[in-house]
């Protein structure tokens, strides 16, 4: 199996993003469980912060694609 070291970089970027978005998702779940009436607002805030983290991860993945 052939591959490049860039794939390892992409994998590492995904690792960080996974941890970050996992934490956001978990905290949002907790928040919604405590305050179900605020679920709409929590979801929006969750999506936005997830988008920011994802953006950082995607930087890493795109850089690993560039040769």
């Amino acid at each position: 199996m052939t591959g490049s070291i860039a794939a390892i970089g992409a994998g590492l970027a995904v690792l960080g993003v996974g941890l970050g978005i996992g934490r956001i998702g978990g905290s949002a779940m907790e928040g919604i469980a405590r305050q179900p009436e605020a679920s709409g607002k929590i979801q929006t805030a969750m999506l936005i912060s997830a988008a920011f983290i994802e953006g950082a991860g995607l930087f890493g993945i795109v850089v690993s694609f560039l040769k």
Partner: protein, 364 residues
């Protein structure tokens, strides 16, 4: 209802006629091709990259070993003026072997980029071709116009006091969502009416392009929002709108942050200045990478059958690609929402009025 059906029929008829007028089955002899053994070797990376990239002809399918495609015009701006010819003249070659001569210049198509053939020509070569992505943009523009013109007609006829019917019933909740949940929340009630049109355009344009990219046959399938040039333009528009509308207070927060020790302010100015550019840059990368990644995953799952060279893997391949395709339907809407929301957020922060004391500002 009848009107909507008529419109739908017109779109369909237009697409079909455009397709059959341009689609031409090329019964030419295969151009310089390698031995048969070399051709049967399947390269998933090449196939996926071919589908992800923009192209000068729209490949529809292979029929009896011949490519059936719509040949799109190649338009080039050179030192000797405008040059245009049909991409059919390249005979589906993208390895730079087939040379097309025009106006004393010769061109080759190398991986869907038009170059001068040979080494002798060096000059400007600006590719203004109507490529696959451009056609897809036209299709989306026509669809959006049909959608919104018919909605506007409905309100003109029925008025906004009655419950909307037909197309307007579909559009109204989405428009209200963008206005009330995105624009009003992040831009604020004072400026909401100025920026709602832009945000609505962004939302529907990105969403429809994402959805059309997921359609696997003719009018769909182009990777428009997964093209970094398209997302670059969208991000640059947001960047310009943000900074043109920036208040004095916004620029003060960028270059001379109030509420922090003076010694820190130059450092923060550098960070904030870089931040001006990383915000639209991340908008650009996020949309591009999400949509491209979705296409790559679906195509990889489809090509599992060809990589493993067995038909028994097809149930897994079909189920997995069905699952990812449904996920991509969600991502299509989510990325449109995220792009719109973040644009609203950036514009909103630039417009924000910090007339209250800055001691409070430093607290958050």
């Amino acid at each position: 209802m009848i009107k909507i059906k008529t419109l739908g029929f017109i779109v369909f008829a237009f697409l079909v006629s455009a397709g059959s007028a341009w689609a031409s089955a090329h019964a030419e002899a295969e151009y310089a091709s390698g031995p048969a053994a070399e051709q049967s070797k399947f390269d998933p990376t090449e196939m996926i990259m071919h589908h992800i990239k923009d192209a000068h002809s729209w490949h529809l399918m292979d029929w009896n070993g011949h490519a059936v495609s719509i040949d799109l015009p190649v338009i080039l701006w050179t030192d000797h003026g405008l040059v245009s010819f049909s991409s059919a003249e390249f005979h589906h070659d993208n390895s730079g072997k087939v040379v097309v001569d025009r106006n004393g210049m010769s061109f080759v198509n190398h991986h869907e980029k038009i170059h001068f053939a040979g080494e002798e020509h060096h000059g400007t070569l600006i590719d203004l071709s109507i490529t696959k992505n451009v056609v897809s943009l036209f299709v989306v523009a026509i669809l959006l116009l049909l959608l919104f013109v018919s909605t506007a007609r409905h309100y003109k006829k029925v008025g906004s006091n009655k419950a909307p019917t037909g197309m307007a019933g579909f559009v109204e909740p989405l428009v209200l969502f963008v206005r009330d949940e995105i624009a009003r929340v992040y831009i604020g009630p004072k400026h909401v009416d100025r920026f709602t049109p832009y945000l609505l355009t962004l939302f529907f344009f990105i969403w429809l392009n994402n959805l059309l990219g997921l359609v696997p046959f003719f009018p769909g399938g182009a990777n428009v929002t997964g093209n970094i040039a398209v997302t670059l333009v969208l991000a640059v528009i947001t960047f310009i709108l943000t900074n043109v509308n920036g208040t004095k207070d916004y620029w003060a927060h960028v270059f001379w942050m109030p509420g922090v020790p003076v010694a820190l302010r130059p450092l923060l100015a550098v960070v904030e200045f870089i931040g001006l550019f990383t915000k639209p840059f991340s908008l650009m990368i996020r949309l591009f990478a999400n949509i491209s990644a979705g296409h790559i995953i679906i195509l990889s799952l489809v090509s599992l059958v060809f990589i493993l060279e067995t038909v028994w893997v097809s149930p897994a391949s079909i189920l997995l690609s069905l699952f990812i395709s449904s996920l991509e339907l969600l991502v299509a809407a989510l990325q449109a929402f995220v792009f719109t929301t973040l644009s609203a957020l950036y514009i909103g922060t630039a417009l924000e009025d910090h007339s209250h004391d800055h001691g409070h500002e430093a607290a958050h």
